[in-house]
């Protein structure tokens, strides 16, 4: 009995601890069904246990509270503040009682019980049946079961890690056994009754697998525990004053991940203290608060954990970084004009570069930032850095939540199968598709995809397997982005599947191959290796970074990017009517031949069935052949199809059309190679569809655009779009600093505009996929994302 009571106390206190985090959230939104259910389950469990343990006082309160919550669930009662605070009081009371049982004390006096019960039952507008009252009154006078003096009940059980790992393995075994059984059941055509039971078992196994993976999760708090002490000791040694703020300690991540992040994080905090925060006198001289601040915040973002370390110290002096890099011949003078603020900051990750004028004992000689980056990238994360001189530095670590389960693509190469992290795959293309050309130049394989050239690596060649004679159609090219360096194309026989994979570390002898990141055992029971995109690039001797030392290449790149400012790539196609037209390539997701049977029409709306989705066709077309060439256009979250006769070419189209026209759906006319081509107005294409959701009125405000006068894209595309959306557009340079009302500044991703308190900055980048340094920016053709960001920034200011 004592054991049972102890378990009850531990369990109750533990659930209360979990729920305590939810209380405030529930209070602010009492209609939140999920939280309501959690509270209901809590009282229900407590009631059940108390009935069993013969604790009538607690049972009574739990029962009444459960009734109240049940009434809220069914909608018979509204969760008004009085009811909620009564429920919360009941929770507190149960906690007090549970603690009293644990300590062997009497707990709150019985006389409180009636008050509490009255509070719970006496809801405005609801008349309680008197029967319940009498019953409760009768019961409440039964003496509580006396419990003898005992040790304070433990709230958790400590389990050795090896036991958890064994548990994990056992569950994996179980999953495999289930799969085998499932195959056998299918083969033997057993009767549905058996299948039903098997399904139930199967569901239990799946639940169990999920639960066991959760046992590996730990609160980020563990990462934080050592930091306050370290910061305190270090700041004393350095004679600096620092405030440390820790946020998001309740975010959970995989135990192994926490261990991997610990060192890089410690290093970053040391750096921030040593190099970032100035000595008190310097701070005063700079007009800052004498106490510096370091803020460390963790949050979950999708299946990533973001850990941000921000200090308000002196920031990173890019000039001295550059000077040092020049001295060490890491870069050349010729590189300088091509480097923007982010490029210069990124120099700090170069091995052997330290900005501190004096080498200190704390963070040494800048050994570290490169190690930090390497360590974080090894576990599939990225480090992002932003800094402004005098204001401080912000470092972001983005790491996957768990090492063990990642979404992966399964690819075939010969008769071998491999997995590759889905996050690294930018795009899948067919080798003989219209947008890809593969060339062999002096042994190098180059894939040109929509005008961009990529190194092509054939996986067979890398594996030394020798490519089998091209059996069974075309190969697949995967456009792979590695955390460092340039994306490349990886040629494989086929991409077969995508799966959530449980990844385990591979043994050192396997890792020695340099191209694997781990191994996994898929459901078919045949071990499979996980490819390491960065390792493959390295093994294939691909250039990992832009050739910075190569001045000619840098110039070519610059010239190229200058050219790109003036023109954008566009797809030249032939309409069904035979007319030649252009569409900006960025909006075209892919080109596909779609069977006529997949097209349908309702009213005036034509649509295409793609898998489970229906995608509207923006140019309704009469279907007169079996296969229709279709452009898939996607901007933001919207997707539409555009049926064409054929695709001609990809050309560089001037951003400003040679002739502007006022015709529905046409943005202008461009002369190219002795032809004149109409340019599709993609904004109106999507705007027509999105009219409904766009109807929501936007917050009035001012959009300042940096470089409005010089940058044609800003002037001819961005400005009209914002004006159309109802914003007041002004040139950032021309208008003074003083703005009335909310304002937002839009600038190029590479621009060095710094956000100020009054005007937030939205950075726009030219590439659809963000590279590491530009991750905080928005793709310039992401219309929805752009407008949402403007709207959000203005609304926050207005609030």
């Amino acid at each position: 009995m004592d054991d049972l009571l102890g378990d009850f106390v531990a369990e109750t206190l533990e659930s209360l601890e979990t729920l305590s985090g939810e209380v405030v959230a529930w209070e602010s939104d009492p209609s939140d069904r999920e939280r309501l259910d959690a509270f209901f389950r809590f009282f229900h469990t407590v009631k059940g246990s108390c009935g069993f343990l013969n604790l009538p006082r607690v049972e009574k309160v739990a029962h009444t509270a459960e009734d109240v919550l049940a009434a809220i669930r069914t909608g018979d009662r509204t969760p008004d503040p009085a009811t909620i605070s009564a429920v919360l009081t009941a929770m507190d009371w149960i906690e007090a009682m549970a603690r009293a049982f644990g300590d062997g004390e009497a707990g709150p006096p019985e006389s409180d019980d009636d008050v509490l019960l009255d509070m719970l039952t006496a809801a405005p507008g609801v008349v309680e049946e008197p029967v319940t009252k009498t019953e409760s009154a009768a019961e409440i006078h039964k003496p509580a079961q006396p419990s003898g003096p005992r040790e304070r009940a433990p709230r958790t059980v400590r389990i050795s890690l090896s036991l958890i790992d064994q548990l994990m393995n056992a569950v994996s075994d179980m999953v495999l056994a289930r799969n085998e059984l499932s195959r056998k059941l299918r083969d033997h055509h057993v009767d549905p009754d058996v299948e039903g039971s098997f399904e139930r078992l199967s569901a239990c196994v799946a639940d169990m697998r999920d639960m066991v993976s959760k046992t590996r999760m730990q609160r980020v708090d563990r990462l934080f525990t050592a930091l306050p002490r370290m910061v305190r000791d270090l700041s004393q040694d350095l004679g600096k004053k620092v405030d440390l703020t820790l946020e998001g300690g309740d975010v959970e991540m995989d135990r192994e991940m926490i261990e991997m992040v610990l060192d890089p994080l410690t290093h970053i905090v040391r750096n921030a203290l040593d190099h970032g925060i100035e000595a008190p006198m310097d701070r005063v001289a700079a007009g800052k608060d004498i106490t510096g601040s370091i803020r460390i915040a963790a949050r979950q973002s999708g299946n990533q954990i973001v850990i941000e370390v921000a200090d308000n110290g002196r920031g990173i002096a890019t000039d001295s970084l550059v000077a040092k890099a020049l001295r060490l011949k890491l870069i050349s003078e010729a590189d300088l004009p091509g480097m923007n603020h982010a490029d210069k900051l990124a120099l700090i990750f170069h091995p052997g570069l330290s900005t501190a004028e004096q080498v200190s004992a704390i963070s040494g000689r800048g050994v570290g930032m490169d190690v930090v980056r390497t360590n974080v990238e090894r576990i599939g994360g990225v480090v992002m850095l932003d800094s402004s001189v005098g204001r401080g530095t912000t470092l972001q670590l983005r790491v996957p939540m768990t090492l063990t389960i990642i979404p992966g693509l399964i690819l075939r190469c010969g008769d071998e199968h491999f997995a590759i992290p889905r996050g690294n795959v930018i795009e899948l293309l067919h080798e003989n598709g219209g947008m890809v050309t593969v060339e062999n130049v002096a042994g190098a394989r180059i894939a040109t995809i929509r005008g961009e050239r990529y190194s092509l690596i054939d996986l067979e060649q890398l594996l030394g397997r020798g490519r089998a004679a091209n059996v069974g159609g075309s190969r697949t090219l995967m456009l792979v982005g590695s955390p460092t360096g340039l994306p490349y194309a990886l040629g494989v026989d086929a991409v077969e599947n995508h799966e959530e994979l449980v990844i385990r570390p591979a043994s050192p002898v396997v890792m020695a191959a340099g191209i694997f990141a781990g191994m996994t055992l898929p459901d078919n029971g045949r071990p499979m290796l996980l490819l390491d995109p960065a390792g493959i690039a390295q093994a294939a001797d691909l250039p990992m970074e832009l050739p910075r030392n190569d001045a000619a290449a840098e110039k070519a790149r610059q010239a190229d990017s200058e050219k790109r400012v003036q023109t954008i790539p566009a797809l030249q196609f032939i309409e069904m009517s035979g007319q030649q037209r252009l569409i900006p390539l960025d909006t075209v997701e892919r080109i596909e031949d779609i069977a006529a049977s997949l097209f349908g029409t309702t009213g005036n709306q034509q649509f295409v069935r793609l898998g489970e989705r229906l995608v509207p066709v923006v140019n309704p077309t009469s279907i007169d052949r079996e296969l229709l060439k279709t452009l898939h256009l996607r901007v933001g979250g919207q997707e539409v199809c555009y049926v064409v006769h054929d695709v001609e070419d990809i050309i560089d189209m001037p951003i400003r059309p040679h002739l502007r026209v006022q015709k529905l759906g046409i943005a202008g006319i461009v002369a190219h190679d002795g032809q004149h081509l109409e340019v599709i107005d993609t904004h109106s294409l999507f705007a027509g569809l999105a009219a409904a959701d766009e109807a929501a009125a936007s917050t009035p405000g001012i959009c300042l655009i940096a470089g409005l006068a010089e940058d044609p894209w800003m002037r001819t595309i961005l400005a009209p779009l914002l004006i159309q959306a109802g914003y007041d557009v002004r040139d950032a340079e021309a208008s003074g600093q003083k703005q009335r009302g909310p304002a937002v500044l839009l600038c190029d991703a590479g621009s060095i505009e710094q956000p100020s308190a009054s005007v937030p900055v939205i950075r726009l980048r030219a590439q659809a996929d963000a590279d590491m340094r530009e991750a905080e920016s928005i793709y310039r053709y992401d219309r929805d994302g752009l407008l949402a960001a403007v709207e959000g920034a203005l609304r926050r200011q207005a609030a």
């Binding site: 396997v510 020695a512 191994m519």
Partner: protein
């Protein structure tokens, strides 16, 4: 000396013995999935229930030749530094306690076996070479072999 249990096996015609606390089991393997770009003795991966073993061919370490992989090859399962390996061997004869323990090496051991020789063990009136499993899996030897 303490009496301890040893596993007796044969690799490339040599009788070897290893302490049983170093290994988990002797199993017959299923399919071995080969791995590219690894040292020659790394024969591939094999699944043992839900565990994945890295299969290392001991014969390749010694003679440079590959063991011919039979339908279900025999392997010693051992966990070393958190990773599970399967060591391909030709034959397993017995598991037995040995009274005398490990005897010092007499005579000259061939260069191939040298790095792995930890002594001699007398069992059933025959001498066996005492080896230690982690020695077969150490990185330097692998790098040298590769």
């Amino acid at each position: 000396m303490n009496e301890s249990l040893f596993l007796f096996a044969t690799v490339a015609g040599t009788d070897i013995a290893m302490p049983t606390h170093e290994l988990e089991a002797v199993v017959r393997l299923g399919e071995i999935v080969p791995i590219a770009r690894t040292a020659p003795q790394v024969r591939g991966l094999a699944a043992l229930r839900s565990r994945v073993l890295t299969i290392v061919d001991v014969r390749t370490l010694i003679t440079g030749e590959l063991t011919e992989i039979a339908r279900s090859p025999l392997a010693i399962v051992a966990e070393v530094e958190g990773h599970t390996y399967g060591l391909l061997i030709d034959n397993v004869s017995d598991i037995c306690p040995v009274d005398g323990g490990i005897l010092p090496v007499r005579g000259r051991i061939s260069a191939a076996w040298e790095p792995y020789a930890g002594g001699m063990i007398l069992y059933e009136d025959r001498l066996h070479l005492a080896v230690s499993i982690p020695d077969f899996l150490r990185q330097p030897t692998l790098a040298a072999a590769a």
